[in-house]
Amino acid sequence: MTTATQTCPECDGPVDVGDTVRASEVIECPECRSELEVVATEPLLLALAPEVEEDWGE
């Protein structure tokens, strides 16, 4: 699995994804605070997470 620092698709800032990242995991860009989704792990690919919808929540 690729664990190197990735680039935020929103701000191009560095995002350290750690070495236990899983598919569909949501992580926050430390620079722009965007929510990012791990859309693939081999190779690792980040995308902006979907917008919150009306019926989301705990």
């Binding site: 598919a23 989704e37 791990v38 019926d55």
Partner: protein, 300 residues
């Protein structure tokens, strides 16, 4: 070491948050194989053979998708936690209120109004300030503290303009003059495992809105109310929200079926491992070491 009785398990989610990651790690530690189902890939034909799982941990973040996934898997003979029944009840504030009231659980006076005009009359009957909540939704979004009739009329005009028929219904609740905190109790398989205070500068005390969390002693009253509320709403895994009223009494506000526990875990550090307890009680079905004495210990 995997138990010989471990059910074939799947975890349904479209987002792997703190909670889902902890659950998957807890399953891994027990050696319990678990299929991660991405909700976005779910499709089910009427004549499909049943899916190869005994148990689905339903962690879908959308209440609608969680409900329909639960209905689908349950129809195929799979145990789904939380169940479709629990999601239908807990995912709708009015249904929750009806279930709490029917069970005699203390909960603030509330009303459902089917039109804006009826909502204005109901608010007068409840007395201002009132809390206007969307029937479906969470994290404190669109929950409004309404000081007077003029403000209510304005907010209802916005609700009337929303496309969803559900959004046009008004759920009104009497405002509880509580401290700057509420209490969340997590119930796993009928047993309250601990409580936390959620404290905020504002009147909404959702963790998603920035509330801070601290451990709260799990008193007998809290444990009993939370366990009853979870049972009566059908939730095997529940986050029961309560407030302390001006007289020191406890009122149940709502029961969350898709409970997040990051804030709870931070408040209790390693004294209570929520994911471990979920795996132990709901996946393995074990109730050892979870008697009342243990509950008292972990909540203290």
């Amino acid at each position: 070491m995997v138990s010989s009785t471990a059910p074939r398990t799947a975890l349904l989610a479209s987002r792997t948050r703190f909670e889902e990651k902890r659950l998957l790690e807890a399953l891994d530690r027990r050696g319990i194989p678990c299929t991660a189902i991405d909700t976005r890939t779910v499709r089910h034909h009427l004549h499909d053979t049943p899916p190869p799982w005994d148990l689905v941990l339903n962690r879908e973040i959308s209440a609608t998708k969680a409900l329909y996934a639960a209905l689908t898997y349950e129809s195929a003979g799979v145990t789904v936690i939380n169940s479709a029944t629990a999601i239908e009840t807990c995912g709708d504030k009015w249904r929750t209120s009806l279930a709490l009231r029917a069970a005699g659980i203390p909960t603030p006076p509330a009303a459902l109004a089917l039109t804006a005009q009826a909502a204005e009359e109901a608010a007068e009957e409840i007395g201002y300030p009132v809390v206007l909540k969307p029937l479906v939704g969470s994290w404190g979004r669109r929950v409004a503290l309404i000081p007077d009739a003029a403000a209510l009329r304005t907010v209802l005009e916005y609700s009337e303009a929303l496309p969803s028929p559900l959004a046009k219904l008004a759920y009104l609740q009497r405002y509880v003059d509580k401290p700057d905190r509420d209490i969340r109790v997590i119930v796993v398989g009928g047993i309250p495992i601990g409580a936390m205070y959620r404290t905020s500068d504002g009147w909404r005390t959702n963790v998603a809105r920035g509330a801070t969390t601290t451990a709260c002693p799990l008193t007998d009253d809290l444990a009993k109310l939370a366990a009853t509320a979870a049972r009566e709403t059908g939730a095997d895994l529940a986050g029961v929200d309560l407030v302390e009223d001006a007289d020191g009494g406890l009122q149940v506000l709502e029961v969350n079926h898709g409970v997040e526990f990051k804030g709870f875990q931070e408040a209790h550090t390693d004294r209570i491992d929520v994911a471990e307890l979920i795996v132990e009680r709901l996946v393995l079905g074990a109730d050892r070491r979870m008697d009342r004495e243990t509950v008292r210990e972990v909540g203290a």
